[in-house]
């Protein structure tokens, strides 16, 4: 069977662990990764716990297809109660760590309590030990990975760790694995830091079996061929996700200068083409593309910064290649803050990976700070003397590093846009939902996207729904609620499989189902997965309701509701959330105040 059937439950307070059998009833209902991890979280903690207290749990979860030969099989998710906003947090990541964890024999690692001093977990198949992390506490992710491998003289260890941002409780700190892949959002890294857990280092030699290997191999050959021949896949391989930037610019959905505008005049200096251009000195930002485990797309960018660029001219330690710009990073460090210096963006990206932070939340928080600065609500006295104006590349790179290291004004920026804007008396400037910052899509031009943002269970997130086709079709709020709800359920199931959502350029739910059916016991159909997705969505919703969220939190910032899109193909439109939300609740089988009805819960087996 393709689940390993084992959960590693670690009590950090006591420094003990136990390997439990995986609850297969839950696996059948919640699949894996996001769904199964959420089920374990819900069963493990009180939704009202302080996210940074020892009472919170932190779960690393793989899916049934993680580690198999299915394309993009490297995914794992980190699930916890998030410190950015107190909602259920689930951030998934690629790289090689997730598959290695599964090869060691564990579907989930569930961490409870808080270690008395900094430690890391060393896992080599059945051998599990708590190791002293004092020598690397205060060190970056990059140093941590190198140090741990050297310490154990084992270059085969795959490592997920936090940087200083996670240690110090930056509310959007990430868990970084394999140097530059991130369980990026919602502050899962800060929870890890609060538990005094610096890293998990793992080596697995057990492998993964599937239920029907022959059929599985046939099926993955077919699904991989579909992906290989798909034009969206080719685009991601050749140009990365940042090819999106030009499209959003032309459409007028590229949030610019804290969402005051929807198009950015400097877009062509930070988009995929700009990464691929060779400049006068012969330098090209992009070096090559690379893949996560098992992935036949390889959208990942490897880039480098010009050695004479102001960020690194005197810092030789950055004269090397590393993870380059993806769309969200390019958006958050480019248009969102008005910066068009691609090397500055790339350096800020390095800072996110090295110190472990979410580029979306950092960039959008910085954008709010820049707006506050320009309107006079904060001054150089607050910002350590940095001129925090839109377009200032140095402000971007300096603040990225300060926040990563939790220094000076970085300590304020590290609290997120909502707290920042409230602190300085302008809560309306925070571009967040439920306290989490928006990704790079403006909700006025993309109505269904807006509804998806408003109802996403982890706060504003672009990866929880897919309504592009309908949003492109017309600017009306009509007919958006259905596709939004359906895609939320679909993606919840996909996020629970162990595969990457980027395959949806070529695969629908049936392609997921056919692979799961060959890999797992029992019969797995698209309908079964959609129902599991709906169950997962409602489980997350119930957690948030119990944590204190209400339907009043299913909303968007006033800027998107009241200020028409100033330019673009959807010029003049508003987010019009109130014309979609009631229909959405209705389709979900929720009451007018956004609570699942008894019938809905019974139908999904959640009562």
């Amino acid at each position: 069977m393709t689940w390993q059937g084992s959960v590693l439950r670690v009590n950090l307070t006591e420094g003990s662990y136990v390997v439990e059998p995986l609850n297969m009833e839950w696996a059948n209902d919640y699949v894996g990764e996001r769904g199964l991890g959420s089920k374990y979280l819900v069963e493990s903690i009180d939704p009202k716990v302080d996210p940074l207290s020892p009472d919170n749990a932190l779960i690393f979860a793989t899916g049934p297809l993680t580690g198999t030969m299915a394309s993009t099989s490297g995914r794992y998710a980190v699930i916890t109660k998030g410190p950015l906003n107190g909602a259920i947090a689930c951030s998934n990541s690629g790289g090689k760590f997730g598959a290695e964890m599964k090869f060691a024999g564990y579907d989930l690692i569930l961490l409870e309590g808080r270690a008395s001093k900094p430690c890391y977990l060393l896992i080599e198949d059945e051998s599990i030990s708590f190791e002293d992390a004092e020598p690397i506490w205060g060190q970056s992710v990059w140093k941590t990975e190198e140090w741990i491998r050297n310490q154990h003289n084992n270059p085969k260890l795959r490592i997920a760790s936090i940087g200083v941002a996670g240690e110090k409780g930056v509310r959007y700190a990430s868990v970084i694995n394999d140097l530059h892949r991130a369980a990026g959002r919602s502050g899962v890294g800060a929870v890890m830091g609060s538990k005094n857990l610096k890293a998990i280092a793992v080596r697995g030699t057990k492998g993964v079996s599937v239920d029907n290997p022959k059929r599985f191999m046939e099926v993955v050959r077919e699904t991989k061929a579909l992906l290989a021949n798909n034009s969206g896949r080719k685009d991601m391989t050749e140009h990365g996700t940042n090819s999106m930037l030009t499209t959003m610019q032309e459409y007028g959905s590229l949030p610019t200068r804290n969402f005051r505008e929807v198009q950015f005049e400097g877009f062509d200096k930070v988009d995929a083409n700009a990464m691929e251009e060779t400049d006068d000195s012969g330098h090209r930002n992009l070096i090559t593309n690379k893949a996560c485990f098992g992935c036949t797309i390889a959208c990942g960018r490897i880039a480098h910064i010009r050695q004479d660029h102001f960020t690194i001219i005197n810092r030789r330690e950055y004269w090397h290649a590393s993870g380059g710009l993806e769309y969200e990073t390019a958006f958050a460090f480019g248009p969102a803050v008005g910066v068009d210096d691609i090397d500055a963006l790339t350096f800020a990206g390095y800072m996110m990976n090295e110190h472990g932070m979410d580029p979306i939340s950092f960039g959008v928080t910085l954008a709010a700070a820049m707006e506050l600065y320009e309107m006079g609500a904060i001054s150089k006295d607050d910002t350590d003397g940095v001129e925090l104006t839109f377009g200032n590349a140095e402000a971007l790179t300096v603040m990225a590093e300060k926040t990563g290291k939790f220094e000076g004004f970085g300590q304020i920026l590290g609290l997120g846009s909502k707290v920042l804007c409230e602190k300085y008396g302008h809560p309306e400037l925070s571009m967040t939902v439920k306290g989490q910052e928006f990704a790079g899509y403006d909700s006025r031009a993309l109505k269904g996207m807006g509804l998806g943002y408003a109802t996403s269970n982890r706060g504003a997130c672009h990866m929880r729904h897919d309504v592009f086709a309908e949003d492109y079709d017309d600017s009306s709020p009509e007919g958006k609620a259905g596709p939004c709800k359906d895609s939320q359920d679909r993606i919840a199931a996909m996020d629970s499989s162990g595969l990457c959502v980027f395959v949806t350029t070529a695969w629908g739910i049936e392609e997921f189902a056919v692979q799961l059916d060959a890999a797992c016991d029992g019969t797995w159909t698209g309908d079964r997965l959609l129902e599991a997705g709906e169950r997962i969505w409602n489980l997350e919703r119930l957690f948030n309701l119990a944590a204190g969220f209400t339907s009043a939190d299913d909303t968007l910032p006033p800027r998107l509701l009241n200020d028409p899109a100033p330019t673009g193909i959807r010029k003049g439109t508003l987010a019009e959330l109130d014309r979609m939300l009631p229909e959405y609740y209705d389709l979900r089988g929720w009451t007018n105040d956004g609570r699942p009805t008894a019938e809905t819960l019974a139908r999904l087996g959640l009562n």
């Binding site: 030969m69 085969k156 140097l179 492998g207 690379k290 390889a298 290649a321």
Partner: protein
């Protein structure tokens, strides 16, 4: 004609599909730790380099084996480990200059690339043709051709 694996690291994305395919072919499950081909990463993943046995004509592993457990498949040119004869002494692993024959602690024998009987699964699995299986006398052909082109263009400019 004899064929050989031809690896172009510049095309490799580091996805490890080759390791998955190799382990499935030889072990019946997905387990890169048992793969006979391995992909190495350098400089934050900038370089990803697949590496495996090159099937030396004069194979040091074969010569070092005291039990004659490694024999030559004359058709493929592959050096194959006869599991029943291998005693797990690891002499071959010391003799191999490239490290591409490895002890397997589960079986107590050594593992190496056997070219999958002439249909290497790593080749089939590679999404970018970074690993191909071509005529053994042509592994340098493309590189030679590109140098020829470069030299010619320089001369004719």
């Amino acid at each position: 004609m004899q064929k050989a694996l031809h690896i172009k690291p510049e095309l490799c994305t580091g996805c490890l599909q080759c390791e998955l395919a190799c382990s499935y072919e030889h072990e019946g499950l997905f387990n890169p730790s048992m793969s006979r081909i391995k992909v190495f990463e350098f400089e934050h993943g900038r370089h990803t380099v697949p590496y495996t046995c090159t099937q030396c004509a004069e194979a040091w592993c074969m010569k070092a084996c005291p039990t004659e457990a490694i024999h030559l498949d004359t058709k493929l040119g592959a050096k194959l480990v006869v599991e029943s004869a291998c005693v797990g002494c690891k002499a071959c692993t010391l003799a191999c200059p490239f490290g591409t024959i490895e002890f397997n602690p589960v079986s107590g024998k050594v593992d190496k690339c056997d070219l999958c009987g002439g249909n290497p699964k790593c080749v089939e699995a590679c999404p970018t043709a970074a690993i191909t299986y071509i005529d053994a006398d042509s592994t340098g052909y493309d590189r030679m051709r590109s140098w020829a082109e470069r030299t010619h263009l320089e001369v004719s400019q």
